[in-house]
């Protein structure tokens, strides 16, 4: 792919164009493995998934494999379970990312400003990021299981929060927030480091209170970092799977779109419908990314520095 025609002819002398050619050749060799792997494991399968999504293909009825056009998509988009899962996913995404942003900002300010123990705090905060999601999810599950859990025992007798939709989703959000707030905080911390202290001091001298300094100076200056963090986390939250799988298995109206896709693939062994769900999720993710980049002007990380070098 990298051996395409040069975009702009090198406007230099012959020696420079010779160097540019060597550089291009080297670049092609260096990038080839990454490109090949990424294409082989994503582009080809996704194309295959599109093909599967146009088939009636249920492993339980292997003889009845046939081309059915878009009818799997029609089945998905007219199905109450899809919209329920979609609503759950959007709700969990919006709520957890909003909480993460607020908490992450607080955490970043603490890490940035704390008078002592900065190293300890920064280290410990990485534990939620590093802990295997499934392990953490089991921790939350047992914490909220009546009898076993220290948290469930704080609730009134007879309540089993993981078996009711809203409480269960609240726990899912809690588990997501716990796990990913540190990541958010670190991204924001990096943005925070770009806010010059002088500016804040000047504002303070001019009589700006802490809240004003936050909303008028810190946040606007952090906007690029915030948008990138939001983009990352939104897309990540939208594909939520592990926490829901462990906490509720998607029962009682808590299934996310990823859980729905998994269940249709592996509980129903319906590869046609399952692939249609997969592709629909893919399209949703693409739309979200597009909205962020175009709507909010989020700079896609890494997209800027090329061009210059």
């Amino acid at each position: 792919m990298t051996v395409a025609a040069p975009q702009r002819p090198a406007a230099g002398d012959a020696r420079r164009s010779e160097g540019a050619k060597a550089e291009r050749r080297l670049a092609a060799w260096l990038c080839a493995p990454a490109v090949i792997v990424m294409l082989a494991v994503t582009a080809y399968p996704i194309g295959y998934a599109v093909w599967l999504s146009l088939l009636r293909y249920d492993l339980r009825f292997p003889q009845e494999r046939e081309f059915v056009g878009l009818s799997n998509y029609l089945a998905v988009l007219t199905d109450g379970y899809w919209w329920s899962a979609f609503t759950v996913t959007v709700a969990v995404t919006v709520v957890s990312v909003a909480i993460e942003l607020a908490l992450g900002l607080g955490l970043a300010l603490i890490m940035h400003r704390t008078l002592f123990g900065r190293g300890t705090v920064r280290t410990l905060v990485l534990i939620p990021y590093g802990m295997v999601t499934v392990a953490a999810a089991f921790s939350w599950q047992y914490a909220w299981t009546p009898g076993t859990g220290y948290l469930a025992n704080l609730l009134p007798e007879g309540s089993a929060p993981l078996t009711e939709q809203i409480p269960a989703l609240a726990i899912v959000v809690l588990a997501e927030v716990w796990k990913t707030t540190p990541f958010m905080a670190l991204l924001l911390l990096a943005g925070l480091a770009l806010v010059p202290d002088d500016l804040l001091r000047a504002a303070q001298v001019d009589g700006a209170g802490p809240w004003q300094r936050l909303t008028r100076i810190i946040l606007p200056m952090m906007k690029p970092a915030i948008l990138v963090a939001l983009l990352f986390r939104t897309l990540d939250a939208f594909r939520i799977f592990d926490n829901i799988y462990v906490l509720t298995r998607g029962n009682n109206g808590t299934a996310s779109v990823s859980i729905l896709g998994y269940d249709n693939l592996f509980k129903a062994f319906n590869l046609g419908i399952g692939s249609a769900i997969s592709i629909t999720i893919f399209i949703c993710v693409a739309i979200i990314a597009f909205l962020f980049v175009k709507g909010f002007g989020a700079a896609a990380p890494g997209s800027e520095p090329e061009g210059r070098r």
Binding site: M1, T2, A5, Q7, R24, L26, L30, V35, V37, T42, I46, I110, T114, L115, F116, R122, T123, L124, L126, I127, Y129, M131, V132, V134, A135, F138, S139, Y142, A143, T148, G149, Y150, L187, L189, G191, A225, V228, A229, F238, R239, F241, D242, V257, S258, Y262, L265, F266, S275, S278, I279, I281, V285, A289, A300, P301, G302, S303, P305, E306, G307
Partner: protein, 278 residues
């Protein structure tokens, strides 16, 4: 801002720090507590166990269900990390240092993959791997892991590469080294810290994966620990495998905690590199 450390402020920050520490550690301490509780008191709901036992650990290490999974997890994560970082280093160098057409496309593609919903790949990969015999094998998991961690590796590495003093490379080139030689003899040693960082991040990613692990494996031949845990059986219908799950969760959490303790600075730098520079 220069702040005077009055006792009041100090107490306030202590409290905040304490809150953060509690926040980070509670779920870990809780699963640790469960893992040390004997079967008789695992459902007593106490945060601090009244009596301690190592039975749960002895129990999981006595079964191939767990030990095999642990070997799989370690092997698969290490191989995937090595390959992803190697491939990623090459691409990242090109992106950070070389001018070539299609760079934008390459970055765009890897960005797309970073945001890709994994579930979308599960059904085709399940079918393809079944057809070519990769289903339920190590390579069957290593391949998607490499792919999904490549963007991460490329971002962190190219960010590191941009910081490297390139004059050295130029000097090497002036001494007659080809770009490839310059890459090998000058840049690689300088880039080592960045490579270690991205290796840690990639390892954590592979170690953490659950969706591919439960979808593309079916036996002990390749099932990793997160997938194995979710398949744990109690010894009878009425016995929840709580203690075993907690112990297994601890075993896979400890290496990560060690990583975090040793490489805190690097991890922070790696995680934030993509975001700020962009």
């Amino acid at each position: 801002m220069a702040v005077v450390a009055t006792p009041g402020r100090k107490a306030g920050w202590s409290l905040l720090n304490l809150l953060v520490i509690v926040y980070a550690l509670i779920p870990v301490l809780w699963i640790a507590s469960l893992s040390f509780k004997p079967t008789s008191s695992v459902t007593d709901g106490n945060f601090i166990p009244r009596e301690l036992t190592l039975d749960n650990y002895a129990g999981i290490f006595a079964t191939s269900q767990f030990t095999r999974a642990l070997i799989n997890s370690i092997g698969i994560a290490i191989i995937a990390t090595a390959l992803a970082v190697t491939i990623g280093t090459m691409a990242a160098y090109a992106i950070a240092r070389l001018n070539f057409p299609g760079k934008k496309l390459l970055i765009g593609v890897s960005l797309m993959i970073a945001m890709f919903p994994q579930i979308s790949l599960v059904s085709p990969l399940f079918e393809i791997e079944r057809a070519v015999g990769l289903f339920d094998t190590w390579p069957g998991l290593i391949l998607p892991y490499i792919t999904f961690s490549l963007p991460l590796a490329i971002y962190t590495l190219s960010a590191f590469f941009r910081e490297i003093p390139w004059e050295l490379e130029k000097a090497a080139k002036m001494d007659g080294a080809t770009p490839a030689q310059a890459f090998r003899s000058v840049i690689v040693p300088l880039a080592a810290p960045g490579v270690v960082t991205s290796a840690i991040l990639v390892f954590i990613f592979c170690w953490n994966d659950f969706l591919f692990a439960i979808s593309l494996t079916s036996t002990e031949a390749s099932r990793t620990v997160p997938a194995a845990i979710s398949n744990f059986t109690g010894s009878s219908q009425f016995e929840e495998p709580t203690g075993s799950i907690a112990a297994a969760a601890m075993v896979i959490t400890i290496p990560i905690i060690l990583f975090v303790l040793f490489f805190q600075r690097r991890i922070v730098a790696g995680l934030t590199s993509g975001a700020v520079k962009g």
